[in-house]
């Protein structure tokens, strides 16, 4: 198991885990979201090949109403 943060909350996840696997595990599924790891946006096409590492700071964002 490795420790990462998801939207500032601590999470543990088995290693190895891809970003795609983690998003499904965490319940994001097919939702319209974008993801950044350590401040770098990960293109959706690279979710499968992006492997999570200990200490990763993961931010998942979704559309919101704005002015």
């Amino acid at each position: 198991m490795i420790k990462v943060t998801l939207n500032s909350e601590r999470k543990e996840i088995e290693q190895p885990s891809s970003l795609q696997q983690a998003l499904v595990l965490w319940g994001y599924g097919e939702g319209m979201v974008a993801v950044a790891i350590d401040g770098q946006v990960v293109p959706q096409a690279k979710y499968d090949e992006t492997m999570l590492q200990a200490g990763h700071d993961i931010v998942v964002i979704a559309p919101m109403q704005g002015g």
């Binding site: 939207n7 939702g31 319209m32 950044a36 964002i61 559309p63 704005g66």
Partner: protein
């Protein structure tokens, strides 16, 4: 029709999507106002909450182009990261760039805006900077490649209208080639008309419609006033005079008195 960034659109009114009583009323307002561009934002999403998906489903079939903002960013670095996220999420290279320098006034940080705009322009973004009405700041943003500027009329959500008409007029006169969108502070259609009659290319507003008793009706009012005041600008407003000038010719009217010459 007019060109903004890489698009040609009909409406010169851009609507924000926040603060509406419901998503249904938001939809009605967008449809009634016949807008082509709406602003959106992004937030951290907990998996158990589906609010983001609900909002997106409510607007995605309206055919509007979305203009994501970087609301809440206080540094250029934050704004650049948020722009990257917005591009990935909304599949657009448009970004309404907000870097806030004062939390009470939500006043744009001119230094942060210029720094972030330079980075994002180099990365191929169409940057719509939310800025103050400072001419030199606006000039600097144009110098680095911004084709559209969004100077504030007054603080966001204040409804105070245009606080410095002279500054807005000066920006328009000195930067005739750039698209100018008045953003923030508009509370009434007359405020929008003031900007459009100065020659602004468009209006971006949110609270004035969303907080109205009848948002769709207010959206329609803004749509009409923006179109009318644009036509007035194109028709050419008469010059102001300090003294009266009779509209009815007075020469030879029944009680006309010719000035006696002694």
């Amino acid at each position: 029709m007019w060109k903004i960034a890489d698009r040609t659109v009909n409406s010169r009114l851009i609507l924000g999507t926040a603060l509406y009583p419901s998503l249904d009323i938001l939809r009605q307002a967008i449809i009634t106002a016949e807008v082509d561009i709406i602003t959106v934002s992004l937030r951290r999403q907990a998996p158990e909450k589906n609010a983001g998906a609900g909002f997106w489903q409510a607007i995605s079939d309206l055919g509007c182009h979305v203009l994501p903002n970087t609301a809440g960013c206080r540094t250029a670095k934050e704004a650049v990261t948020m722009a990257h996220m917005a591009r990935e999420l909304f599949k657009t290279n448009w970004i309404k760039l907000e870097v806030i320098g004062d939390d009470y006034l939500l006043q744009p940080d001119p230094f942060g805006v210029v720094e972030a705009a330079g980075i994002l322009l180099a990365e191929g973004f169409e940057v719509f900077p939310y800025c103050t009405d400072d001419l030199v700041l606006c000039q600097r943003l144009v110098d680095i490649g911004c084709k559209t500027l969004m100077p504030w009329g007054s603080p966001i959500g204040s409804g105070q209208g245009i606080l410095n008409l002279y500054a807005q007029r000066t920006i328009r006169e000195r930067l005739p080639e750039v698209n100018l969108i008045l953003d923030a502070g508009i509370g009434a259609p007359s405020h929008a008309a003031q900007a459009m009659e100065l020659g602004f290319d468009g209006i971006l507003l949110d609270s004035a419609v969303a907080l109205a008793n009848d948002p769709p009706q207010m959206a329609k009012a803004f749509n009409q006033v923006v179109m009318a005041s644009r036509q007035a600008y194109q028709a050419g407003l008469m010059p102001k005079r300090d003294m009266a000038q009779a509209s009815t010719p007075l020469l030879d009217t029944p009680f006309w008195h010719q000035e006696k010459v002694s």
